[in-house]
Amino acid sequence: MDQLSVEHLLGIKYLNANDIDLIFKTADHFKEVINRPIKKVPSLRDITIANLFFENSTRTKLSFELAEKRLSADIINFSAGQSSVKKGETLIDTVNNILSMKVDIVVMRHGNVGAGVFLSKHVNAKIINAGDGTHEHPTQALLDSYSIREKLGSVKGKKIVIVGDILHSRVALSNIFALQLQGAQVKVCGPTTLIPKHIASLGVEVETNLKKALEWCDVANVLRVQHERMDIKYFPSTREYTQLFGINKEILDNLGKKIVVMHPGPINRGVEITSDVADSDQSIILNQVENGVAVRMAVIYLLAQQIKR
C-alpha cells in the first residue's frame, strides 16, 4: 500500500484508487512541508530530473520545477523552442542524449497523444506525463481532486460538472478518470461541437444547459476555450460562447446553493468565467495552484522511491 502500482505516471487511466489515495496522503505531508519557514527536504538530493517541454507551459512547468527543487533534486530544463528538435532530431534521440547525462526522471509535455507511453517503452527512466496533446494531464487531475477533497472533505459521492471545451481538453479526460476512480459523479457541459462524440461511453452525462448543470453539481470545473488547438470554427463567436457557457456572479447567486468553482488556468477573464467569480470566495483557483506543488512533490517522491541504487 505504500508503493504505487505503476512505474511511470503516464495517465490516470493506469492508476487505481489506492494509488490516488497514497498520492493524496503523501501530498498532505508535503503540503505541511511547503508551509514551513524553510520549505525544503533533502529526500531526492541524489536524483536528477529533466523537464522536457515540447509545448508551451507556464504554470505546470513552474509547479514541477518548484516541486523538484523543494525535494532537493537536481534539474535540467529543456524547451523545444531553443533545441535541436527544430534541426530534425527524433524524440527518442533527444531523450537518450539527455539520459546519457545520467537523468533518473523525465517530466515531459508533448503535443502528440501517447508521447509519454511511447517514451516509457524505449528509454530507461521514470516518465511523468505533464500533458500529451489532447489526451491526458494526470498531475492536473490529481491536484484538482486533491483540492476538492481539501475543500469538501472527500471526492466520493460528489457531483462535478466540467464546463467548456471538452473536445480539446486533456484536463477533462484525466479529471473524468480520476473523479470516477474516487466514486464521484461527472457531467460535462459545453457546446455540442466541443463535446466528443463517444463521451457517453466513459459513463459521463452530457448537459448542454449551463444553468441545469450548475444546479445539479457541487463543484464546477471550468475549462478554457483552446483556440490554439482549433483548426475550424466550433462556435459562432466568443461573445455567444460567453452568453451561453460563461459563468458569472448572477448565475451563481441564483442557484440557491454555494457551489465550488475551479479552473486549471490560464483563465480568459470575461470569456468562460468573469473576474468577480474567479476572485470570489467560491473559487479555489489559487488553492489549486498551491496544491499543485504538493501533489507533484508526492508523485515525484513516490516514483523516485522505486529507483534502486
Binding site: R36, P37, I38, V41, Q305, K308
Partner: protein, 193 residues
Amino acid sequence: MIVDNYQPKFDSILMSKITLLNSKDIEIILHRLACQLIENHNDFTETVLIGLQPRGSYLAKRLSNLLQKDYNIKKLESGLLDITFFRDDFRRRNAPLAATSTEINFLIEDKKVVIIDDVLYSGRSVRSALTALQSYGRPKKIELLVLIDRRFSRHLPIQPNYRGRQVDAINEEKVLVTWKETHKKDAVYIEQR
C-alpha cells in the same frame, strides 16, 4: 549428572520476550525525567519539547502532560516531528518509507529544544531530526531525551542528555516499547529477532 526435570529459574529466559520495564518502572522513570528537565529548563518559557514521529510521540505527550499536571508548568510548547523526508536511507531499504504527520505550530528560533524518542539505537533518526529541525529556525540549544539508550550500537557520535534506562542489548535483540495508548499497557520488552 543429568538433570532430567530441569526447570529454568526464570520462565522468561526461554521465552523470546523479556520484560525490561513494567508500567510502575516506567512511571517512576517518567517522574525522574520530568524532574531532570525542570532542573535544566525551570519554567520552560524558553524550551520546547519535540517528539519524533511515530514512536517518540507517546513519550513526548506523556512527559508534557506530567510536567503540566504534576509539576505545575503553566505554559509548555510541544510538537511532533516526522523525519521521513530527511532520512539517509531513502531508496536504500526494501520496504518503502511511510511518512507521518508533523505538528509544529511554532518557530524554534532561539529556543532550547528537547528532542524526545523512545529508543536510541544507531542515532540515525536523531541525525535526521537535527537536519529536519533546521526548517523551523536556529535553536539556541538542542538536547536529546530517550526512554531507552542502547549502548554500544551507535553508528554516529550522538548521545542522550537524559536517559530513562541504559540497556546492553545485542544486535539480534530488539527493544520494544509499548504504551497504554496503543497496546493497553506501558512496558518495555527485549525480543529475540
